[in-house]
């Protein structure tokens, strides 16, 4: 048995750090342009990231073998999602944006995992460069930095299949293109195109450039960092519409998006997951509209709020327009359920993912039918294809684990002094990479997490990470079963 290939993990992490360092150029440029005095702090942190990246890539990971075992790909996934956010705290610390290291970690993890939970109460008081940096972390996190890597690995000649599997664990992918590297390039280009398009539209609607860019990054990556404490409303009605549309699309599988925008519409509607996404969206909007209307809002306003709110929840962006204080119970519970369900698989959104939920619900329905007709044989089909039994049991295990994580996270949060519903909602909102919790009693009525004790912030950061790497990768490397075998070698 060959030795554990930690050199390669270091190498890839190093390469990704270089990308982050390159990304740092943008905030630095903004800083110089707007003269907010942050250029040195940002440049220093950029330099540190660059140096560490180079060190990891060229010194530690120098003679890396380009082969990846199953468990190593888990390590790689987790390492990347831990190391990058940790280095990502540097700009926050140097610019003095956050009060403590814990806050910086929270903000950085929230950014890279595209969660969008924030400890910053008044984002409008942040210098534009820091705002840009915050948005950029989400954007980089967005499509899964690892997909970057896959594109990059083409040059390295690494077997990309394993990584791809680790990143989108358990979701059988509709392949964009037989050759993975090429399909990743396509994904990436859609992603980039969306960001640029949205920034341009927002700018044309009269939003200033920094806000437009930051909002676009937050939306397309389904992150949800805001640029001001008033929410999206402060950008104007036109901007709200734009954001709504883009949120809706960012919750859609990238492969499906590609088909939509290349006008290959023929088999589009036969995609079961897309169909469910649309139907669920319409149903949720209807319920939500009724709920808002019953509270005495005008019909037009309720409809508009609902569409925005549901798009934001289903894509796990997490922009809240009327703050949760004004929601009825119905809206809160509906929101909670949608948060846990999450977006389509293969999108940048989080949650259990619609695909798994569909399979689960279908299987349960079949089970009931089986109870009535014990001799009949029922199978689960998705998109006209049979779903294998092994896969179904994986889905069940995943959902079970997801619930366990939420409950366990909620438990620790209650120790930190949150009430039980608050704790559960916060845990769910963060593991689903949504951001602000739909219940905010113990946060003093504000959407940001600044008032939580340090332990709670760390726990939420871990939950974000777990949600982003889809549990298994994280769980596999801490499982006793794995270590027992590892240590035996």
């Amino acid at each position: 048995m060959r030795r554990f290939n930690w050199r390669l993990i270091a190498h890839v992490t190093g390469v990704l750090l270089l990308y982050v360092a390159a990304g740092m150029l943008l905030p630095i440029a903004v800083s110089i342009y707007s003269q907010d005095g942050m250029q040195f702090a940002l440049a220093l942190s950029g330099l540190l990231i660059l140096m560490s990246g180079l060190f990891l890539r060229n010194m530690v990971g120098k003679k890396a073998e380009y082969v990846l075992r199953e468990d190593e790909s888990y390590w790689l996934t987790v390492a990347v999602w831990v190391v990058l956010p940790l280095f990502g705290t540097l700009p926050y610390l140097f610019t003095g944006t956050t009060a403590s290291f814990t806050d910086a970690v929270f903000e950085s993890f929230s950014g890279f995992t595209t969660t969008g939970s924030s400890v910053v109460a008044m984002p409008e008081n942040l210098p534009p460069s820091v705002l840009t940096y915050r948005a950029l972390t989400q954007w980089l996190g967005g499509l899964g930095l690892l997909l970057f890597v896959v594109a990059l690995l083409r040059r390295l000649g690494l077997s990309a299949g394993t990584l791809y599997e680790a990143e989108f664990s358990g979701t059988q992918q509709r392949k964009l293109h037989p050759r993975l590297a090429k399909s990743v390039t396509r994904m990436w280009s859609i992603y980039g195109l969306f960001t640029v398009a949205m920034s341009v539209v927002l700018t044309m609607q009269g939003v200033n450039v920094v806000d437009a860019f930051c909002t676009a990054c937050s939306t397309v990556s389904t992150g949800g960092f805001l640029t001001n404490s008033m929410g999206i409303m402060a950008l104007g009605n036109g901007a709200v519409t734009t954001v709504t549309v883009f949120m809706f699309f960012s919750g859609v599988n990238v492969a499906v998006l590609y088909r939509i925008f290349t006008f290959k519409w023929r088999h589009l509607w036969s995609d079961g997951e897309l169909r469910t996404y649309v139907v669920l969206f319409i149903a949720a909007v209807t319920v939500c509209t009724v709920a808002f209307f019953a509270e005495g809002n005008g019909l037009y306003d309720s409809a508009r709020y609902s569409v925005f709110h549901i798009a934001s929840t289903m894509s796990t962006c997490g922009f809240y327009m009327p703050t949760p204080r004004y929601w009825s119970f119905l809206v809160s519970v509906l929101t909670f359920i949608l948060i846990v369900v999450g977006a389509m698989s293969g999108s940048t959104g989080g949650g259990i993912k619609l695909r798994r939920v569909i399979i689960m619900v279908k299987y349960v329905a079949n089970y009931f039918n089986c109870m009535i007709h014990p001799n009949a044989i029922y199978r689960v089909k998705l998109n006209g294809q049979l779903v294998e039994k092994d896969y179904i049991s994986k889905v069940f295990a995943f959902v079970f684990l997801y619930i366990v994580f939420i409950v366990a996270g909620g438990f620790v949060l209650t120790i930190c002094g949150c009430s039980i519903p608050d704790a559960i909602c916060m845990a769910a909102a963060n593991i689903s990479n949504l951001g602000p919790s739909p219940l905010i009693n113990s946060l003093g009525g504000s959407l940001n997490y600044a008032l939580l004790p340090a332990l709670a912030k760390w726990i939420l950061a871990v939950l974000m990470l777990a949600g982003r790497v889809e549990l298994f990768a994280l769980l596999a490397i801490v499982s006793p079963a794995y270590w027992r075998i590892r240590l035996k070698r």
Partner: protein, 476 residues
Amino acid sequence: MRFLGIVLMVEGLMILSCLIPALHFSDGTWEQIALSGLFTFFVGLLLKVRFRRARTMHNRRMAYLLVVLMWVVLGLFGTLPFLTTGTLIHFPDALFESMSGITSTGATVFSAVEWLPSSILLWRSMTQWFGGFGIVLLVLALVPSMGINKYSLYTAEASGADNTGKQSSTMGSTVRHTLGVYILLTFLFIFLLYKSGMHIWDAVNITFTNISSGGFSIYNNSLQGLTHLQQYIVALAMLLSGVNFALLFNFFTFRWDKLSHKLEQFLFYLCTVVAASLFVICALVFAMGYSWGDAIRNGLVQTISVITTSGSLVADTSQWWVPVSFLFVVLSLCGAMAGSTTGGLKAMRVLILVRHVRKILRDRLHPQSVNPVRLNGKPVSSHIVTNVMVIFMVFVMVIFIGIMLLMLSGINATESIGAVIACITGYGPGLGISGGFGCYAHFTTPAKLICSLLMLMGRLECLTVLILFIPAFWKK
């Protein structure tokens, strides 16, 4: 329908037996009790006679329907003593109380129980005692073959929870053995409590509600007023009520070689009790300033009460530290061993769920290896694993929907979560006002009805009730 009649007759007799305390303590309710008892008995008799020539049935669907119907009817007729004596005026209240009794939940709408007539108190305790065992199974055991496919009734009632290790090949004797253990334990604990200086009346009531893991009490402060020794005795009763009765039977009849069939579940159950109690004890000492002695007693007894979903209280738990309440919610969801009187998911299912996740992890790390889910050293068939998975998912969905409905009927978030989980697991006390020594009196009418339904669902493990709502069920 004939079966239904017999069940009703039994219930009528049960109500009539409440006459004993009514007459003994002369609390002035004997007329009403006799009336409702006789009424129930005669409706039952009528049904039995009317449907004397009913065809035998082997239909699975009928079995599901029958089981649910029986529990509903039992609940409905169980309201009679409350309504006729005027202790509860509103029907939803009475239904809630009655359902809570026969499903051995222990949630109550009475803010103070001490002023209730003794006959009603006994009625509450007795419904739990019968309900805890599963009155349907009881009738099954006593009445010789009625042409009904008993096994399908059994699976309908227990959702195929523990069909892995019946100790006898025939259904009837399984039930009789189990019943024997149940009655033996009841007498044992009545005796123990009596010996510890308790009045025989108290001893009977407390044993009835705790051996069935029900949790109704005849005192406002539940177990708090008991002596320490008595509290420990009750805790032991609850602990045993959480053990699989087949296991107990084998233990008491010295068939120790058969114990290994369920050993792992048992150990898991004990480990959960120990681990959870340790946490609760530490929490009580460090976060709430109890002395060690008090903390150990309160923590241990209360944790056992939660895991076995009894819901008897040694202190006002609604005042306890929030994480402890949260832990209690989770523990009651896990529940004790399958094949006992307790509710929740049951230790066996939790074990299977955890092992299944471990299997999936192993499969991923070593794609070539074969990793079956094992229990007690034997591989569990994939059929059972999926059954467990489905029950878990259905549980979760029902809880979600329940919480949503309760919130819609005007209950706040904390209480909704508490009430739904307390009702579906059969624990009893919820969170907030409905938790601790509080009661469910302030719930709105729809909320009470929803809770009653949830108790029924929890008792029948969801699937049996839910299947009636599937359109395909009603198609020919």
